[in-house]
């Protein structure tokens, strides 16, 4: 029996189909663009998990994406071998998010303050990284490089084999596996008590507190997990672009991921993924021409979606199907209820 319809279930059929398409893609088509689409999808998934299920919107989630990229670049320049840098690219964003999250959530700040603080964090990182052009800004062997960023670092390699680098099609497979794994991890989280409590917190924080759940602990935990995923996406982005610049922390980047998620849909996992892939393609297409600015389209989409379909496209479609199904069942239910109430209710002796 399904106790938790509000979360939805793992649909293995669709998952296997999606995985098969993703994994078979390189056999037939070019992988350069699809790689970055998968990376963006992973980034969107990280925000969608937190925003859609726990109801927590980080306005500056790109901070953790960017941290992942920078941490990887700095670490790999210093270490040469990519395994530890890859892990650090997840670990450090997770730790930073845990600190900032604990500060926010144990302080019981509202969701609006959370938006402001997370945005300011990414602005600080943007300003700082843009200002690191001088020679004094080095971490080990890595020059931070200010606005020009860090170019030409070593890409991912097979763990333990620094000479076998993963680039081109292998990088595509790394991105695809990372996305699929993070999807499964998210599903697993949502199927556990942890995920169910998060949904409870989204619906009513006070009630969850009064059921004995430590709301700040749950929020901090999911913020940190989400930041780790974003960091992984950032690390893969760095590998794809082969350069890291402060633009990963920019307002534009912060807005983009929010648009992907909200267009795809809140309260689903597949929505953010599809949103990122579709809008990522639009972004790349718009990048090839100069007539219409990318910001214009992005902004227009965001305004329209917030006004017209505030929960996003995928839930709107689900809702449309769901309403049709529910109308049918409710009609039947009303008939049952009517028959029930017609029978006399037993009076309680006082």
């Amino acid at each position: 029996m399904k106790v938790w319809p509000s979360i939805g279930q793992m649909r293995w059929g669709w998952f296997i189909l999606g995985a098969a398409v993703a994994l078979a893609w390189p056999l037939f088509f070019d992988t350069y663009t699809p790689t970055i689409l998968l990376v963006w999808a992973l980034f969107a998934l990280s925000l969608g998990l937190m925003w859609g299920y726990a109801g927590m919107l980080s306005f500056g989630h790109t901070a953790y994406f960017g941290l992942g990229a920078y941490v990887y670049a700095i670490a790999v320049v210093n270490m040469g071998e990519s395994t530890v840098p890859l892990l650090l690219a997840m670990l450090i964003p997770a730790i930073v998010a845990a600190i900032i999250g604990a500060m926010m959530f144990y302080g019981r700040i509202s969701d609006v303050y959370m938006g402001v603080i997370t945005l300011v964090v990414s602005l600080i990182l943007f300003k700082f990284m843009s200002a690191t052009a001088g020679d004094q800004y080095v971490i080990g062997d890595a020059r931070l490089g200010g606005f020009n960023g860090i170019p030409g670092f070593q890409v991912l390699n097979v763990p333990g084999l620094p000479d076998v680098s993963l680039f081109g099609v292998p990088l595509y497979y790394v991105a695809a596996v990372a996305l699929l794994a993070c999807y499964l991890l998210s599903r697993w989280i949502l199927a556990r008590s942890f995920g169910r409590v998060l949904v409870g917190i989204r619906e009513n924080e006070t009630r969850c507190e009064l059921l004995g759940y430590s709301v700040p602990a749950y929020k901090t935990a999911i913020f940190s997990i989400s930041a780790a995923m974003a960091g992984l996406a950032g690390c893969l982005f760095a590998n794809w672009a082969e350069i890291v610049t402060p633009s990963v922390f920019s307002l534009r980047s912060a807005a983009e991921v929010i648009v992907w998620v909200i267009v795809g849909g809140l309260g689903t996992l597949v929505g953010p993924i599809l949103g990122a892939i579709a809008l990522g393609m639009v972004k790349l297409l718009l990048g090839e021409q100069t007539l219409i600015d990318n910001s214009l389209v992005l902004g227009l989409i965001l305004v329209i979606v917030v006004l017209a379909i505030p929960r996003g496209v995928v839930p709107a479609l689900q809702g449309w199907y769901g309403t049709r199904a529910r109308i049918r069942t409710q009609r039947a239910g009303h008939m049952r209820a009517r028959r029930r109430t017609a029978a006399p209710t037993a009076g309680r002796p006082s």
Binding site: F59, V112, S250, S295, L300, I301, L302
Partner: protein, 289 residues
């Protein structure tokens, strides 16, 4: 001695700068509890309006002091009618929609003016203060800010419009009980807030230069000034936090460069938000979506 005067003037200028770019946001946030993420772009559009008028041969003073506020006020009115009015009471959605607007405005301005930096000439020459060359226009900014805030205070305190505004600040019902449709009050407020942003953009254009993306630079400063200032006494609060952030920013900047000044200011803002979540403005925010 001259150096002290220079530092004091620079601090005063920074405070005025923050207070000036925050004024429009303060009015909108204080009276409507709307966080307008397109605020920086309103300022930016004010700057470009000034530039366009100046290029068309209109007097620069007239462009920045009259046309820029009018044009941006009109933009604000359109935005309120088309977007904001559907979202009252949904704070996060408002933030998202206005963020979308900010991107949209950046896109439109890029389309019209291109994405390279442009500048507006400074109409007041510099002057010599001891060994230091000072911008005379900075003094004008300080003066404009003082006039603006005194003016707003007088309007709020002594006019019927101010009475309605203060009523609406308390709650929509108060405005309604004074015989005004709160929706109309909100519309007028948002328009006035936008016009103030346009004024700030126009006046500051000769100093800052213009880029379609320059709104992002204003948003952080005005945001933290207004929000840490609090919604309770919005003008005084904004002035107080402008004073604090401006002073700190300039002192750190003198000590170790302008970027660090900005960063310290933002970091301080986070700490303040954390320490005063139930502060003057925090009360209105809990569960405020």
């Amino acid at each position: 001695m001259d150096y002290v005067a220079v530092v004091v003037l620079e601090i005063l200028y920074m405070i005025s700068f923050i207070a000036l770019v925050s004024a429009g946001l303060a009015v909108v946030f204080g009276m409507m509890r709307v966080i307008n993420l397109a605020h920086g772009e309103f300022v930016m559009v004010g700057g470009y309006t000034t530039l366009a008028c100046f290029r068309a041969g209109i007097d620069l003073w007239f462009s920045m002091l009259v046309i820029a506020p009018l044009v941006v006020g009109l933009v604000g009115l359109i935005v309120e009618r088309l977007v904001i009015r559907f979202l009252y009471g949904r704070m996060i959605d408002t933030m998202l929609a206005t963020w979308g607007l900010s991107l949209l405005l950046i896109g439109i301005v890029t389309l019209i003016f291109g994405s390279s930096a442009v500048s507006v000439p400074t109409p007041i020459p510099g002057y010599q203060l001891g060994a230091y060359q000072m911008g005379g226009y900075n003094l004008f900014i300080i003066a404009v800010t003082i006039v603006l805030y005194v003016g707003m205070w007088l309007v709020l305190r002594f006019t019927r419009l101010g009475l309605i505004a203060r009523g609406a600040m308390q709650s929509a019902e108060v405005a309604a009980s004074l015989g005004y449709n709160p929706r109309t009050v909100y519309m007028v407020t948002f328009t006035i807030g936008a016009a103030l942003s346009g004024l700030a953009g126009g006046v500051l254009a000769p100093l800052t230069g213009l880029l379609p993306s320059s709104g992002g630079g204003y948003i952080a400063q005005s945001f933290i000034a207004v929000i840490t200032g609090g919604a309770g006494a919005v003008l005084a609060g904004t002035l107080a936090s402008s004073g604090m952030f401006g002073t700190i920013n300039q002192i750190v900047s003198f000590a170790s460069g302008p970027v660090l000044g900005d960063i310290v200011m933002l970091a301080l803002a986070i700490v303040l938000l954390r320490l005063m979540p139930q502060g003057i403005s925090g009360r209105f925010f809990r569960n405020g979506q």
